[in-house]
């Protein structure tokens, strides 16, 4: 399925993130992953909807401008 490329995508600040997993079921395209104690956002599928940002209890998620990167799933520091 084709999707419109978002201008901004979600990024997590791993220094702030508590790994509670609250954001995972909030993500409509299921782009957030928690594995090996690291939260990652899949930049290919994130639609930039921001639904994960405000509910984070510690404010670890933010929207950042989408810039090309060779890695599709990386922890991005906001």
């Amino acid at each position: 399925m084709r999707r419109v490329t978002p201008i901004k995508i979600a990024a997590v600040d791993l220094d702030v993130c508590d790994r509670c997993g609250l954001c995972l079921p909030l993500c409509p395209p299921e782009s957030i992953h928690l594995e090996s104690n690291t939260l990652t956002v899949d930049r290919e599928s994130c639609t930039g909807c921001e639904k994960c940002v405000a509910p984070c209890p510690v404010g670890a998620l933010a929207m950042i401008p989408l810039v090309p990167s060779p890695e599709s799933r990386v922890p991005v520091h906001a």
């Binding site: 609250l22 995972l24 079921p25 909030l26 928690l34 984070c56 209890p57 510690v58």
Partner: protein, 391 residues
Amino acid sequence: MRDVDVLIVGAGPAGAVAAWQTKQAAPEMDVVLLERDRAVGTPVRCAEGVGDAGLREFANPDGADWVARRITDVIFQAPDDTEVVLSGSGLGWVLDRTRFDAFLAAQAVAEGAEVLVGAEATAMARNGDGRWHVRVKQRGSEEIYRARVVIGADGVETMVGRWAGLETRVPARDMESCAQYVLQGIDFNPDAIYLQFSHAIAPGGYAWIFPKGVGVANVGLGLVALKTDGRNARQYLDAWIAQRFPTGARTGYTVGGVIVHTTIKKTYADGVLVAGDAAHMINPLSGGGITNAMKAGRLAGCTAAAAIRQHDTSERRLSAYHKAWMDLLGEDHLKYYRIKQALEQMDDAFLNSLARTVNRIEPAKRTIGRVFAHALLKHPQLIPVAARFFV
């Protein structure tokens, strides 16, 4: 590759009871319980409160080392701090979840289940052999576990449900963002839990004090992000504590999500069952999920054991679990959810006035039923709430 009958992902109350009950129903089966963290019961992401009756179905709290405090009273607080005390409103407990979860896991081990800590399920796929192949990472190495039934008890993240193709996503309005401190050296009634409802303090949720001992309590709040002024849960909590317990020593801290929704539409798939928070089996009104998780774990374990014995782990066979859960508690949660939606409409001024109305009833006569009847009489705007409850 290792073959097991039942693989359970997550060693919280749902998973540990599922392992324990599977082995009790079918001692011949290989049952493995995976815990991602290095110790069962850590980190604690919970206010640790539980009702007496539900708890006793699984364990005796009298004198148990996994109990922190026996609770006899509930104190509701209005936004303006007006207190409504319900004395002897039913016994409850504040647990020590680290010890309690370890106790439940030990019960599973005593029945013959195997518990693996520091073991993380990272993917699973159903192969042509009709079994789930689950990739498990432990101490840097990976192994495939081939299971007849996988029970997803993996909490709010609910990855097993997602891998099995179940709809486990949550609308933002039904996610409570929570933050909590363990506060020491604070003054409150250690035999009571306190619940404060206020849009200014905890919009869309409530703030709580759950005693762990004299002068020590879990002090936290849950809120719905859509209703906030832009601050996150921790910022709301810091503001509340600064005003209420400015001198309390913060000796612990946790955050997490509580799904205040209703049970997911489908808690089963071919060879898969999902239980506890992972299946949104939390009371949407109270946010309580411990005993619900244990009850679901028991149903899941018994269903899995029976299905494997009958050589039928199909979706159709496992749907018996969903029906049993809905009959037990799932249908009630639909009612509680409707009440929650109605209560969300009430503003702080109304809650203050409601608290004063209720306080006109003599404390000794203050049963939940009488409070409800009195409130309806004085505040007719509550009638639609009552109607929604009973419809």
